[in-house]
């Protein structure tokens, strides 16, 4: 059933008995044209665009748990395209444009909220770096504004301007940036893909690959049996290394934990997204009223989906330094997600070095905003066997060749990106 205010009112009159499942909970078939491993945002978006844009509908998304239970369901929901390097900007801008039409495309309100993303700077050198970045964005046709201290004051008067350890000198504002309701993104993609015939198979963990005589991947072994596939596409985020290892691959990836935090519900007080350049802290407020915030990764390899107290303190210190008005707001819940941190901090969308296998990985802490473009470009790669131009830089061999996309300039150490 199409979602609209009319269908909602109609259903209200009949006790909402007419709604069916948002997506079909499918049983695995013996074979598909494409099997997508991972029912996160990227896997589901890939399925949607494969079906919608490339007409490939004999597709399964296999998810080991429940869809959206990975990072797609635990991120801080920031969307932006304020990147620096030419390998990144067009891709994230494509994503931003897809966000801007997502709800109409999916007929699902993902609450894409373009209330601005402001990155604060605290020194002249940082301001120069933001000017470089803002200019790179503008040259790519992306919106960016450089704010001076006054401009920041107008945007967020509650910040600590007067007795800050690292005084605020200005900021880079992307007004089109903002947030989106993460769960709705997952469910919306699942529903749209399912409507076009994609099978969404939950509680189905891939445990191995089926190999053809030439070594090519021709299917997957799962906890719910063998599934053959013309092509197998990995979109398993924090588990990329584990799954790729089943195909004998070693990736330039480490799995790290990033924590996130939400406060009790509060009346609106924070406009858009604010990131504190000198501390490890960023914040936005959810539609429900919770302050959603986070900071740096814990820093050690982990598959445990939870972090430790020092980072909680570090993040809250940053928060209090930046906006001492949140001292009496209470932290309601903290959690962790396992991210696939690459050696240059940028993602990989490429053929795996094994025929039949496609790789979408390395999203670090920034892959939520990438969800639409990642799905779009990955679908393009799978359908056409050629990279989408916006994602052409995300090659796996860039590490060996040195054509890395290192936004932070931290080099080949995953936890520094």
């Amino acid at each position: 059933m199409r979602y609209s205010i009319f269908s909602l009112v109609r259903e209200a009159l009949s006790g909402h008995r007419g709604w069916g499942p948002a997506w079909r909970d499918a049983q695995p078939k013996p074979a598909y044209d494409v099997v997508i491993v991972g029912g996160g945002g990227h896997g589901l978006a890939t399925a949607h665009y494969l079906a919608k844009v490339f007409g490939i509908t004999n597709v399964a998304v296999v998810e080991k748990g429940w869809i959206g239970g990975g990072n797609a369901g635990r991120n801080t929901t920031i969307i932006r395209s304020n990147y620096l390097l030419p390998g990144n900007i067009p891709f994230y801008e494509l994503s931003m444009q897809l966000w801007e039409g997502l709800e109409q495309d999916l007929n699902y309100n993902a609450m894409v909220s373009q209330r601005g993303v402001l990155n604060l700077c605290h020194s002249d050198a940082q301001r120069d770096a933001y000017e470089r970045r803002g200019n790179a964005m503008r040259l790519h046709g992306v919106d960016a504004e450089l704010l001076d201290e006054e401009g920041v004051r107008r945007h967020a008067p509650f910040l600590n301007f007067d007795n800050a350890r690292f005084p605020i000198k200005g900021g880079l504002l992307q007004r089109r940036g903002g947030t989106a309701r993460h769960d709705a993104v997952n469910w919306g993609y699942a529903r749209a893909a399912s409507d076009r015939g994609v099978d969404i198979i939950q509680n189905c963990e891939v445990t191995g690959f089926l190999r053809g005589p030439d070594g090519a991947v021709i299917g997957v072994e799962t906890t719910r049996g063998t599934i053959r596939a013309g092509k197998v596409a990995l979109a398993v985020a924090g588990n990329s290394s584990r799954v790729a290892a089943m195909a004998g691959l070693r990736l330039p990836i480490e799995s790290h934990v990033l924590q996130a935090f939400v406060s009790e519900g509060l009346k609106p007080i924070i406009p858009g997204v604010i990131t504190f350049g000198a501390g490890h802290f960023y914040i936005s407020q959810s539609d429900k009223g919770g302050l959603v915030f986070g900071g740096d990764i814990d820093g050690y390899n982990s598959y445990a989906q939870r972090g430790n107290l020092p980072v909680v303190e570090d993040v809250c210190e940053g928060g209090m330094a930046l906006m001492p008005m949140i001292g009496r707001a209470r932290l309601l819940r903290s959690w962790g997600g396992i991210m696939d941190m690459t050696m240059d901090g940028s993602p990989i969308i490429d053929h795996a070095p094994v025929p039949g296998l496609y790789l979408n990985a390395g999203w670090c802490y920034g892959g939520f905003k990438a969800t639409p473009a990642s799905g779009w470009c990955f679908a393009h790669l799978i359908a056409r066997d050629a990279p989408h131009p916006a994602a052409a830089a995300y090659r796996l061999d860039r590490f060996a060749s040195g054509r890395v996309i290192d936004e932070k300039g931290m080099g080949a150490q995953a936890n520094l990106h």
């Binding site: 584990r242 990736l251 050690y300 445990a304 995953a414």
Partner: protein
Amino acid sequence: MRIPCPYCGERDAHEFVYRGDAAPQRPDGAEANEAAFADYVYPRANVAGAMHEHWYHAQGCRTWIVVERDTRSHAIAGATLAREAKR
């Protein structure tokens, strides 16, 4: 998380700087080529399970140590000084 520094005793993990997998060995610098170095620098086993890894006790004895830790549970089996582990 508490890390048993072989010198200092048990310390909170925030005193340490993490580097990662201790398994990759730097190729012989005089001999090895680009490919060997690229293989040393970029790919990682990224083990889900027990792993030997390098930590630096930056806010303590300023020593690099090798910690055996399970990446799924964070349970730590032990630690040695890196320079001794090498020998």
